[in-house]
């Protein structure tokens, strides 16, 4: 059968189960009821603090085949997944299913745990680094499940992804299991992606290197869901967590594109009092936000909220009054962490509040515009941020599909040529985000508007922006770089790309096999 973006998806995928094909961004109905998590009990005098992770494994007990979940707020500074899997391996656990909101190069030891049979299932929203390559080359027998940030929260709330044990990397924790991300040597700010896990997992273990007196405040993850607290020497490397180096790009082409994106927003009719905005923490996104801030200041506009990967730049915009609130599911630098800790207008929210399509209203629905990137985009405006042109997994939706679906205007910023390759194609290799949720492509060689949004194209043209037909832009790219040969991958399915509503939009097949 085919998903609504024309991709062949099987009726059943071995290691995943029966498939519902993607039918359109808002075409699949929600399940009737949420999954009911465990009732729990703690008696007066119970001590939640355990001496080691191994003790937690024994007390729970962690058995073969269980699903263990993790959050990715430490990004490439995370130490907890590796610690927990080392314990699992030493205790001889097998066939664990690892559900982690994102995977980074620091998680490379995962590959050996897969090879040795400790890990046999993987469920994530984004992968960068060697794990993606290994998966693409077929190291894991079962396909990796690639979700969106909102889709992961949905899957947990719906009980489609059941977590046996959530290991929550806790930058600061008290003895009774209250957790915050705003303090401690591994402070990371918001813990939004860990919240569904804490709420729904059968067992919750807070892993910390900063145990403080009860009661900790403010609480991000409450004692009412946390069963055990384990203190370890170090849960993460601050250099990989909040690198402090998220800065505006200096690449002149990137700056040009960012400025065009800001001009698109300015001309769209959306940039008025109460404007809301999401962008990533990459250098080009920050540049676009900076150009946009200048326009807002010139026009005397203040926005309602900004969200996304929060950096000092967005905090600065909040402090200057350009936005009334920051809604925060993830932070990227120490200024953002400090702001979350001190500014009451800086709100910490869960992944579900941010982007779950099956609740009574997630934040992305309130976005006027979002600026997103693309590894590839096609003339139907479908976007691939999952695989490279070589078929290797090197990303994933994260919040990409969620924000695109919610925002009134979704802008994709990308260099028309990356290296020697055009990024604008007839068909992207893997569809991550469907074209029906994408409105504008901004490149250094001009702007293309989704034909579904003719009124927007008209507005941009009237403002003098270089609007070109998407086919014309593609022809231009091919004139410069030639027509790229379309790679064909027909090996077994090594990954399934789940849309935020739980349907399958595409699959990833083995590369280089």
């Amino acid at each position: 059968m085919k998903s609504a973006v024309g991709r062949e998806v099987p009726a059943t995928v071995v290691g995943y189960g029966p498939v519902t094909a993607y039918a359109g961004a808002f075409q699949t109905p929600q399940p009737e009821r949420r999954y009911a998590p465990m009732m729990k009990q703690a008696r007066p005098g119970d001590d939640k603090v355990l001496g080691s992770l191994a003790e937690a494994f024994r007390r729970i007990p962690v058995k073969d085949g269980m699903t263990l979940s993790f959050h990715h707020h430490f990004r490439n500074g995370d130490g907890v997944l590796n610690l927990v899997l080392a314990v699992a391996a030493s205790l001889g656990r097998k066939n664990l299913n690892i559900m982690i909101s994102s995977i980074f190069p620091v998680h490379a030891p995962l590959i050996d745990h897969i090879k040795s049979g400790v890990v046999s299932g993987l469920d994530t929203n984004y992968i960068s680094g060697p794990v993606g390559r290994a998966l693409s080359l077929g190291v894991l027998a079962n396909p990796v499940i690639m979700r969106t940030h909102g889709g992961r929260a949905r899957a947990i709330e719906a009980g489609q992804a059941r977590v046996d044990v959530a290991f929550i990397a806790a930058p600061a924790c008290d003895r009774y299991g209250n957790v915050t991300g705003t303090m401690g040597p591994a402070a990371c700010g918001s813990l939004g992606y860990a919240m569904p896990d804490a709420e729904y997992a059968d067992h919750v273990v807070a892993v910390t290197d900063y145990l403080i007196d009860y009661p900790l405040a403010p609480v991000s993850i409450p004692q009412t869901r946390v069963d055990y607290v384990v203190k370890v020497e170090k849960i993460g490397d601050p250099k990989g967590i909040v690198s402090g180096t998220t800065t505006i790009t200096k690449d002149p082409v990137g700056l040009k594109i960012a400025q065009s994106a800001a001009n698109v927003i300015a001309a769209s009719g959306l940039l008025k009092e109460g404007f809301s905005f999401q962008t990533g923490a990459g250098g080009a996104s920050l540049a676009a936000a900076d150009y946009m801030a200048r326009i807002m200041e010139k026009r005397g506009i203040s926005g309602s909220f900004a969200m996304g990967g929060i950096t000092g730049y967005l905090v600065n915009m909040l402090d200057r009054g350009l936005f009334k609130r920051i809604i925060d599911v993830q932070d990227f630098d120490l200024e953002a962490v400090k702001s979350l800790a001190t500014n009451p207008n800086h709100l910490e929210v869960s992944a579900g509040y941010y982007a779950n399509p099956f609740n009574a209203g997630c934040v992305v629905n309130m976005l006027d515009t979002v600026i997103l990137g693309a590894t590839e985009i096609d003339t139907d405006f479908n976007v691939n941020v999952t695989t490279g042109s070589d078929g290797i997994i090197m990303g994933g939706s994260g919040g990409h599909s969620d924000a695109a679906a919610g925002a009134k205007m979704t802008i994709i910023v990308a260099n028309l040529l990356r290296g020697r390759l055009p990024i604008l194609l007839d068909k992207v290799l893997t569809v991550t985000t469907p074209g029906e949720t994408v409105d504008v492509l901004v490149t250094e060689h001009g702007v293309a508007v989704n034909p579904r949004r003719n009124e927007l194209a008209l507005r941009l043209r009237e403002a003098g922006l270089p609007v070109r037909d998407v086919q014309e832009l593609k022809a231009l790219a091919e004139k410069m770089a030639g027509v790229p040969r379309t790679p064909v991958f027909d090996g077994r399915i090594v990954g399934v790309v789940e849309y935020r509503d739980g349907t399958l939009i595409d699959v990833v097949r083995q590369a280089g096999g």
Partner: protein
Amino acid sequence: MLEVLRSMLFVPGNNPAMLQNAGVFGADAVILDLEDAVAPREKDAARFLVAEALRQVDFKTSARVVRINTLDTGGAEDLRRVVSCAPAAVLVPKVQSASDILAVAGLLETLEQPGQAPVQIIALIETPRGLAEAYSIATVHPRVIALAFGAEDYTAAIGAKRTKEGLEIISARGVLINSAAAAGVAAIDTPFTDINDEAGLRADVALARQLGYKGKLAIHPRQVDLIHEVMNPSVEEIRWAQRVLAVLRQAEQEGAGAVSLDGKMIDAPIELRARHVLKLAENIPAGGAEQ
């Protein structure tokens, strides 16, 4: 193509990625550089790249200019390789005298293909001798359409320290603009070299504009928009220029002689300035006011 030269952006002639993207920044001209940006051992590769770029790359609205080396350091070979690719102009470095221009013009004449539009010359004045000869350099050959000022070498030669404020080059800037104006060619100001100092660039372009310069060399794409912003006429100036020309048209229709606007005589220099303002205004994109 070379009528409006608010910004002329240097692009290293040995960097394929930058050559490919040179046209996306909206500079009035790009200068594909075979001289200072390219190490001696890479000159030949750069000639090949620049020639290919002139043939293949779409530079959009930017005029195509090539900075050659001086004739005694490979400039003749530069010309042999690029002239047939039809650049709009060559930027000739370290011009010392009118004879330097005549030598380049002579080579251009022999190298141009039949039917090819004449390649123009922009003379880069960057020595005290060149500055002293600026007027004769600008008038020696009809191909010379502009004088450009290179202050880094110049200040070194006069033994002054180069500063951001530029007091040390104030007289040189004055001599150059006067020579260009007397010769009826354009004057292009020296680049501002601190690419991270936006406020400094703004002040430097404003000063150049106040001195009479209509254009500036740019060493980084980020400088282009700001140069345009400062060099562009303001809304008030555009309105003034439109009124000047309207009054002139009316006077012409009525056969009147001397005319005035707001109590001031409109003479030839005022008409010229008004026409230039409107020429510049044509180049301001609709979205430009917010850039």
